[in-house]
Symmetry: C2
Subunit: 215 residues, 2 copies
DNA sequence: CTGTGGTTAAACCGTTCGGTTAAACCAGGG
DNA sequence: CCCTGGTTTAACCGAACGGTTTAACCACAG
């Protein structure tokens, strides 16, 4: 589980190129089956590429996984950071922060399973870069919460707990809904409430979180 | 991935007996490495039992896993149900509900990784019994929220979202803390806030959730 | 003493999986 | 026209893995 990048980084940039195709396929397969549940053969198959090519382009399984997870979770971290930076005022910043996460998760649904499994495994394979990104998010969020507290808008809270709360809520809701919707036997009463919410998960979470941390 | 139970259920009850030892070891290994990351050899090794005995006692990998997850998450479900039943008044019930989860997770830390991976995989290997347990929790929680709403204590919310919020927060916080504490390079400022919280995660979550859903 | 049920050791089987290799192929550029 | 770099095909390797089997062992009960 080293933190190696792709041999030819240039190839990753050009869409349609083989390395890119492999990365995309790998992301999907890893998201579905986890690290040890994923077989290189299937990745090659889904990428429409020969297994030999796969190894020629990227390397072994660990390298491939490291690249995937870095691309997946590094992206969202940067988005959050810049979204918070652009908003002003504590409440608005919280809004931007949550919104960005929900958007990112909406746009590529491979994020939730990968991140959940990564957290579940204690971050064993988490590249250092990603951890630094997350740390950045936390410091920014801490700043926002502190700013709100000074202005007597927010109560005193733990930034880490809040971040876990937001991430946990969104990821669990996203993935949990899929499970729930597959069950045909559950009482209809439980499903009713969630239909109108689906349009605005972000809005709902923002509301709940703000109510929770506001003075 | 069938939902078979142990051949000799009686053995599970008597502590020190082989089947029990296997279940305990299996729970730990599955929690560490996930389903496909777990090897039967290691379980046998950790249980201090021959592999042949393992198969003699329980059966194949799927059966073993089904038993483990059922025992893990079925237990917590029952605890929650009975804890809520014993409390009275919406706020107190929410308190009991969250408290029970935190206690269960504290008592056996194998729960978070297993449940997170289970959710991440879309509940592919989730036994029906477990799903029913969760559904029970949801209906009870829905009742509590509705009772609070009628009494104009709570706002109108989605029980499912709230449940995901509580579970997500607790599990992510528990597992996330482990990752965070392993990083020696992160700014000390981030760690400060969480020390005093550690004593009372349950209390903190209860407070936040209640503030979030109260009118 | 004899049966019986749980346990062990160790070999074994068939399969899968990660990874390699070698030879041929095919494009585009000099 | 040939060189080169990416690609394919297909065979192959060695290890690991899930699972089975067989024979022996041991303790305890009838």
């Amino acid at each position: 589980m080293e933190q190696i990048l792709i041999k030819k980084e240039t190839n990753t940039e050009k869409p349609g190129k083989t390395a890119r195709k492999i990365l995309v396929a790998a992301r999907a397969v890893f998201a579905e089956n986890g690290y040890s549940g994923t077989h290189m053969n299937e990745i090659a198959l889904r990428a429409g590429v020969n297994k030999a090519t796969l190894y020629y382009q990227i390397g072994d399984k660990d390298t491939l996984y490291a690249n995937v997870i870095h691309q997946v979770v590094g992206n969202i971290a940067q988005n959050i950071a810049q979204a918070i930076a652009h908003a002003n005022g504590p409440e608005e910043k919280i809004h931007a922060y949550i919104n960005t996460i929900v958007n990112a998760v909406d746009k590529n649904p491979e994020i939730p399973p990968i991140m959940m499994r990564e957290v579940a495994s204690g971050g064993a394979t988490m590249p250092r870069v990603v951890l630094e990104d997350i740390a950045l998010i936390l410091t920014i969020l801490a700043g926002v919460l502190e700013e709100g507290r000074k202005k007597s808008i927010f109560i005193e809270t733990s930034p880490f707990l809040i971040h876990m709360m937001v991430m946990g809520t969104i990821l669990f809701y996203k993935k949990g809904s899929l499970i729930k919707d597959k069950q045909s036997w559950i009482p209809e009463a439980l499903k009713v409430h969630d239909k109108k919410l689906k349009a605005g998960l972000a809005k709902e979470v923002v509301m709940l979180v703000l109510k929770a941390i506001k003075r």
